[in-house]
Symmetry: C2
Subunit: 151 residues, 2 copies
């Protein structure tokens, strides 16, 4: 049996646009890369709680989680850092974007712009799955997630 | 930062029915409970690879992963065993069910039967999300998942 780190990504939509941010040159991993909000499980919490926390910490935005868009595995830096990630489609609820030391810039872009940004290559499959879903699902569609159990 | 175990569940569909299995009385956790196929990440592998492996090991079935249906957090037994889980909707491709020592019985049931089985209570939200999705998505809908990166 294997213990791993768990990372989350948030594809945040507001008025048909999506939030992308540029990682600070001070980051140890992938400095200056464009990305969506990402973060890691920091304590005993569900990935949905974790992604809501990270979105709030990194952008000050309140969002709701619609559904997962992708899952995967990679080494964050080295083999001693095995990481499972889950990417979530999130819907903007309220707030103004305030970035932190982790990012130097942000912008809202369309889905087709996201798919044309080579810097977002690790996020392209998530956006493609979202593009397919949006052909069929109603605007207010949303999963119910199992609540975390802490006993 | 937190390392956790990762568990996967597979909601396997074949001809509008879903596979459920009864856990063996020999299991340390939840003996004799009805469940879907479940398993854990056992090595450096993506959750999608892991769930395909577990389905093959526990049922001998070949399936494809359609999309995630739920994610969550619980303690498997005790606090020293924090577990993140990801449930996947899987589509039957081929094979005959062969169960192992881990299960004593299996059956194929309808979605509404699954929602009426109190023993499946931990799986009800997954089935409910699936029920909602099936109202909108075409029969052959399927995500593309990011391939695992082992370098």
């Amino acid at each position: 049996m294997k213990k791993v780190y768990v990372g989350m990504a948030a594809i945040i939509e507001k008025d048909d646009e999506f939030l992308v941010l540029k990682r600070s040159p001070k980051k140890d991993f992938e400095p200056e890369a464009w990305e969506t909000v990402t973060g890691r499980l920091e304590k005993d919490e569900s990935p949905v709680e974790g992604v809501l926390r990270e979105v709030m910490e990194e952008t000050s935005l309140e969002v709701e989680v619609v559904m997962p868009l992708d899952t995967g595995f990679f080494y964050r830096g080295g083999k001693e850092f095995p990481m499972v990630f889950i990417a979530y489609y999130c819907r903007y609820l309220k707030g103004e974007v305030k970035i932190t030391w982790e990012h130097t810039e942000f912008k809202w872009i369309s889905l087709s712009e996201a798919l044309e940004m080579p810097e977002l290559k690790y996020f392209h499959l998530m956006f493609k799955n979202l593009e397919k879903l949006k052909r069929y699902l109603p605007k207010d569609f949303r999963y119910s997630f199992s609540p975390p159990v802490y006993t």
